[in-house]
Symmetry: C2
Subunit: 348 residues, 2 copies
Amino acid sequence: MAERYDAAGLKRFGADLFAAAGMPQDRAATVSEMLVDADLMGHDTHGLNLAPQYLAALEGGEMPKTGDPEVISDRGPSVLWDGGYLSGVWLVRHAMDLAMDRARQYGLCGVSIRRSGHIACLASFLPVATAAGQMLLLLSSDPANAGVAPHGAVEPIYTPNPMGVGIPTDGDPVLIDISASITTMGLTGRAAANGERMPGKWLVDAEGRETDDPAAFGNGGALLPLGGIESGHKGFGLGIMIEAMTSGLGGFGRKDRPEQHGASVLVLLIDPEAFGGLGAFAAETGFFGAACRAARTAEGAPGVRLPGERALQRKRDGEQNGVALFDGIMPRLIEWAGRLGVEAPRAL
Amino acid sequence: MAERYDAAGLKRFGADLFAAAGMPQDRAATVSEMLVDADLMGHDTHGLNLAPQYLAALEGGEMPKTGDPEVISDRGPSVLWDGGYLSGVWLVRHAMDLAMDRARQYGLCGVSIRRSGHIACLASFLPVATAAGQMLLLLSSDPANAGVAPHGAVEPIYTPNPMGVGIPTDGDPVLIDISASITTMGLTGRAAANGERMPGKWLVDAEGRETDDPAAFGNGGALLPLGGIESGHKGFGLGIMIEAMTSGLGGFGRKDRPEQHGASVLVLLIDPEAFGGLGAFAAETGFFGAACRAARTAEGAPGVRLPGERALQRKRDGEQNGVALFDGIMPRLIEWAGRLGVEAPRAL
């Protein structure tokens, strides 16, 4: 079992690291908070695990330490920023503050961010919106990267294109974090590095056969869209929609052949208060969630879990009993702490 | 081969039928146009095939012949209507006119419609938006119906929850029409009636096993979310998102236990001109589409087709050479034409 750390202490530690690397204190705190929240929710590949690469990017200049996004367009409920590869985590959180305000006025607000830095864990942003009684759709693609084949092809053309959706209810929020492909590039790369097979036939090989061999990607094959060989036209459709709503709306994408990894992002906030009211919205989503949880399952099968249910349980546990960091994360952070003159927290 | 009819003649015929049944002439023409467009695109279950049931609903009073939706809320880019079970096809088209105007001003506009009548074929609405240079998301659920099990369950709790997405490009638009389940209730019912199996294991039986037996639905089983037994948490997430964006925003849904079949709808228009500009948007979506079409396929496999490509080819062919109606549709329409004193068109 990995050692546990106090969540608030970890957030301060991360903030100190990013600030020591040159980020303004408030931004450093925001980025650290979102990363530790990812760890708290169990998304350990997209939490503090990312801090060393962010610190290196700050040091190397690929991620500017200061500066603001350029406002390309602003019509009130629709905004376009050029992020200039600033911290994507901060950009998304900053865009949410703007969009939540605007959505309160207009009912909805979309902020498109082109040339954003890496945005880390989509799920960690969702509770910020749902706690304010709003629904968040957070879409992302990386025009400098490709891993997924169009339905019917074997060549990678686009990214898994994740979508985070936060939905308030009359109880716990529903927190959806899915992608338009069956698996992610990270999990595929990890399995390939460890010489393991994937848990399912989630890739296509160069001959067009579905396979659980992660090495198919890189050897003429690719990741399959959600739905697989059989129903992949649906996952492909979802992937195209997300490309259009990110790189399309941003006006910057694959056509520009960017070389720097980054994100095209759409932050879309919806305030139910402007439609049928938050009360009616939450009553309906709560009723629906309860109906799903009560749905009959096969004999001996566990009950239905709503998206985000386990992550929220983990988060509550971690906030009370400390966060268990995946092996190898803290040693790398301690190395950076030494270089930057920051004091590292002790395990509980 | 079915007989072919002149498309414009069919649209006039449908309009005459709905008008004779009591709908205002302009609404009758709109509904007929959208239905014949569905036939033109090859969606023959959702074209004129639906006219007899719409005519019966007009006659029986379940679908009011006249009247307007009630405006419950209007903040400019966000609007809620109560549709009062008026023709859903007309309501959606009417909402689109409003939302396209508003999106031109605000960049985006969402019209939520609760208690809408049946909205027929999502795909037929999409080219109306893309021809105006806008992106359309059209989401729908029916709170009086259920066929799909939550991920992990075997009991039907919600509907397939379709999503139509129209995307302008620098050439033909991309027209996506998918649902959050692997198959639809219509196809399942048709296979069950014909004693056929489904093309894949798209259902779950009462014991939690995936099956191609359509009769599983109605015998303790249900339709599976997109992703199936293995990755169904993603399709389930998509289905929940669509429930929230339709019945949730409308403030009317399963919690109200409606008995009349109908639709909870969201019509969301996005004007790329308000973000990075339509030129940059269309160049990006066009570039992406071309890259997908050019993607390498396995030896001997056909090339990649973009969503909507085949439907648009069919539509062009039908507009030039006539529409082939599925067997049995015209005889039922001729019966209604006789009762309503409307002249039926002749086959080409």
